[in-house]
C-alpha cells in the first residue's frame, strides 16, 4: 500500500489531525499529552507507594490517580498507532543512542520536560493545538516560553555539537 511506502507530507498529516482535533474538542476536549502522562506517573507511583502516595499533597489535591482518565488513552493510542505504522512500513526496529553523552542529554531533557509540564499545567501539544487555537492568554505566554526555551536549548545543543 502506497501509504506505507512513501513519507506522507506533514502539512497533509497535520491538517487531518487538526480536523480530528476539532471533533475531539467537541466531544471531550482538545488534543493534549501532558495530563495523561501526569496521570500515568501517579498510577505508576501508586503501584510502588500504595496509599502512602496520598500523603503527597499534589496527588491528593491536583491529580488523584484514576485509570479511566481519557487523556491517558491519547498517549497509549499514539504509541499503538506509531507501532502499527512502523511495522506495516517495515520501519520498526530496535534502536538506541550510542554515546553516553546522548543518554545524558535525553535524561536531562526528559526531566526538564516533566518539570516544565507540571509547572505550566500544559505541554507543547496543548500550547500549539489547544490553548493558542482557543486564543487563551496562556497560549501566548506558553508560545513565548517554548520559543525562548527552544532558542536556549538550540544554543546549548550547538555548543555541544561544536565541542
Amino acid at each position: 500500500m502506497e501509504f506505507f511506502r512513501k513519507t506522507l507530507d506533514p502539512v497533509l498529516a497535520l491538517a487531518a489531525i487538526a480536523v480530528l482535533d476539532i471533533f475531539l474538542f467537541l466531544v471531550v476536549g482538545a488534543w493534549t499529552v501532558g495530563g495523561g502522562e501526569t496521570m500515568m506517573t501517579g498510577l505508576i507511583a501508586e503501584v510502588f507507594l500504595g496509599d502512602e502516595l496520598m500523603r503527597i499533597p499534589f496527588w491528593n489535591l491536583v491529580f488523584p490517580p484514576q485509570v479511566d482518565y481519557w487523556k491517558i488513552y491519547i498517549s497509549l493510542g499514539m504509541f499503538f498507532g506509531a507501532f502499527v505504522g512502523a511495522v506495516l512500513s517495515k520501519e520498526f526496529y530496535w534502536r538506541m543512542p550510542r554515546h553516553a553523552s546522548e543518554w545524558l542529554l535525553i535524561t536531562i531533557g526528559g526531566l526538564l520536560m516533566g518539570v516544565g509540564i507540571r509547572l505550566a499545567f500544559v505541554c507543547n501539544v496543548s500550547t500549539f493545538f489547544g490553548l493558542s487555537a482557543e486564543m487563551n492568554l496562556g497560549g501566548y505566554l506558553a508560545i513565548s516560553g517554548i520559543f525562548a526555551g527552544a532558542w536556549v536549548g538550540s544554543l546549548i545543543y550547538k555548543r555541544i555539537l561544536e565541542a
Partner: protein, 209 residues
C-alpha cells in the same frame, strides 16, 4: 458521554495521530529547532497549517458555546514551565508526541526520555507541597491573582462575552496572522532556493571557465 466512551474516543484519536505522525515524520521539536538552527521549515509549515485550521474551528464553535476549551488560570508559571520544556525538548530531541511515536518505532532512547519525563513530574509533585505554587485548579478564580503571579483566565469566548464581538472574529484575525507567517516562510524558502540555484550555476561556470 460515559468515561469508557471518552477513553475509547481518545484512544482512536491517539492511534490515528500516532499513525499520521509516524508516516509523515512530523516533529514539533524540529518545527522550532530547525527553524532556529538550520532555517528549514518543513515541520514549521505543518504546525502553522494545523494552528490555522484549529483556530478557525475552535473559535467558530466557541462562538456558539460548543466544545470543551481548557479552563485554568495562567501566569508566570505558564511561561516558565514552557521555557524549561523548550530547553528539555531540544536536548532530548523529542517532544511529548515524538517520544510516544519514536517509542512505538522501537527507539529505546525515546522510552528513556518518557521515563525521565515521568520522573521529572514526580519530582515536581514532591516539591509542590512546599509552597503550593502554582495554585491547584480547585483554588483558581479566573481573576488575576498577583501574589501568586497569575493573570487569570481569558480566551476567545471570554473576549466575546466582554466585548460583544463573536469569538470567530478574533479567530479569523489570528488565522490571518498565522497565514502571513506561513507566506513569509514560503517567500524565504523561494529566496533560499533561488540562492542555491545561483550558487550552483556559478560553480558550474567556474568549472567550465
Amino acid at each position: 458521554m460515559s468515561t469508557v466512551a471518552e477513553c475509547l474516543v481518545a484512544f482512536v484519536f491517539g492511534s490515528v495521530v500516532g499513525l499520521l505522525v509516524q508516516r509523515s515524520r512530523f516533529c514539533n521539536t524540529a518545527a522550532l529547532r530547525d527553524a532556529i538552527m538550520f532555517k528549514t521549515y518543513r515541520n514549521t509549515k505543518a504546525l502553522l497549517v494545523a494552528m490555522m485550521i484549529l483556530t478557525i474551528g475552535f473559535t467558530a464553535f466557541m462562538t456558539v458555546g460548543a466544545g470543551h476549551p481548557l479552563e485554568f488560570d495562567v501566569g508566570l508559571n505558564t511561561f516558565a514551565g514552557l521555557f524549561l520544556f523548550g530547553i528539555g525538548m531540544v536536548l532530548a530531541g523529542a517532544c511529548t508526541v515524538s517520544t510516544w511515536v519514536k517509542a512505538g518505532e522501537g527507539n529505546l532512547g525515546a522510552v528513556w526520555a518518557l521515563l525521565f519525563t515521568f520522573v521529572g513530574m514526580f519530582l515536581f509533585s514532591l516539591v509542590w507541597g512546599w509552597n503550593y505554587w502554582p495554585p491547584a485548579p480547585s483554588s483558581m478564580t479566573g481573576e488575576p491573582n498577583l501574589p501568586a503571579l497569575q493573570l487569570g483566565f481569558a480566551n476567545a469566548r471570554t473576549l466575546q462575552d466582554k466585548l460583544g464581538i463573536p469569538a470567530i472574529v478574533f479567530g479569523l484575525v489570528q488565522a490571518g496572522v498565522l497565514l502571513a507567517i506561513y507566506r513569509a516562510i514560503l517567500r524565504r524558502e523561494r529566496a533560499q532556493q533561488a540562492q542555491h540555484e545561483r550558487q550552483r550555476a556559478e560553480a558550474v561556470n567556474g568549472q567550465t571557465a
